[in-house]
Subunit: 217 residues, 2 copies
């Protein structure tokens, strides 16, 4: 595993709300939340030792691992979204590349070896300060199976994808794009954002960016 | 600004070595560095309150902002690499998209408004746990100038790029790819990694990934 799972156990963690920092990790004194000199956003600042503690978005990396006309899905053995299906993906670790992270997560969650190809989807999840990067990948063999965080792993054809039982909107959106692009046999990078709408229900708004609007190729 | 600048002042910060956490930011007790149960990497763990403190790579976002056949460069007014030239770029902030971050950094460093286009280069810098994402962008007007972190901003043609005075290898590599792709008039996503070689000198090794090797389009 690579950090807390991308949707961790409590509602707060799932929503990416980091518990506010209370003490300085350098000197142990209490921190205050304020805009440091020369900055324009509030940060946790230690007035005892002067450290400014920045918090930045996290990268989630994963694979669409292909075997002929099938791709590899994992059934989650952990909360949240226990029992629902997802692509192998998780938090990138320090010291690795995004591609190495995507391969590592695929190995950990599905015990599968892959050759990682091009980045295919780049999704912003600003409400939880996550950036998802899903890569096309080639499964190296049929020797795979559930890792500790999966109940089951399965190669699926398009008609087998359990659309109503996918764990996260970013997975559903990526797979919709993937099967649309597969018709044309071309997989240009797709990018967009997914925002959770206010309220207790799990409702989301997705936008896929269209750069041709701006005359970019 | 968005966090410490991507190459901050001390050698340690430039190398991305986060000062080791000493105290728990939740309860103020001392932390220990060990592999938590069910994990496989050492983390800073608080045995008093049970919090595991994960550290993850940071995203640096920026723009290759075009105006006709010229692009916008900034001369750094801050260390490290004071007085050298760079593309407008900086750490992504929580709550924004990568594209919004790239536009914000361009506004802060060059006071320039841009329409952000497709992701063009994706570079891993694993030795400092950074992921660089540079976007093609269209400069909206000629109303720009140095922000607080720049000495000077200038639109440059290819023959004006100060190759020997660029601040970071990731900028030079991205611009080399950009001018090569411009010949063909196509700008597919380019990805690779840059590693700093051991030793006191600033020496780097770059690899650009070639997915056609793997038969990916």
């Amino acid at each position: 595993m690579a950090g807390p799972c991308p949707g961790a156990t409590s509602e707060n963690q799932e929503r990416g709300v980091t518990a506010g920092m209370k003490f300085c990790s350098q000197c142990g004194e209490a921190v205050t939340l304020r805009v440091p000199d020369g900055d324009n956003l509030p940060r946790h600042v230690c007035d005892a030792c002067g450290t400014v503690h920045y918090q930045n978005p996290k990268i989630v990396v994963g694979c669409i691992a292909e075997w002929e006309d099938r791709i590899l899905l994992c059934k989650r053995a952990i909360e949240p979204r226990y029992g629902l299906w997802t692509l192998p993906a998780g938090f990138m670790e320090n010291g690795e590349t995004v591609q190495q992270g995507a391969a590592r997560e695929t190995l950990e969650e599905a015990r599968a070896q892959v050759a990682v190809g091009p980045l295919y989807t780049l999704f912003n999840l600003p409400h939880i300060s996550q950036v998802y990067m899903l890569f096309r990948a080639r499964l190296e063999s049929l020797d795979f199976g559930p890792g500790a965080e999966s109940l089951e792993t399965r190669l699926m054809r398009e008609e087998e994808i359990p659309w109503g039982e996918l764990a996260f909107p970013v997975i559903a959106e990526s797979l919709k794009l993937y099967y649309r692009d597969r018709v044309a046999g071309r997989f240009p990078l797709r990018s967009g954002h997914i925002e959770r709408l206010p309220g207790p229900e799990r409702r989301f708004r997705t936008r896929i960016y269209d750069h041709t609007e701006l005359d970019f190729q």
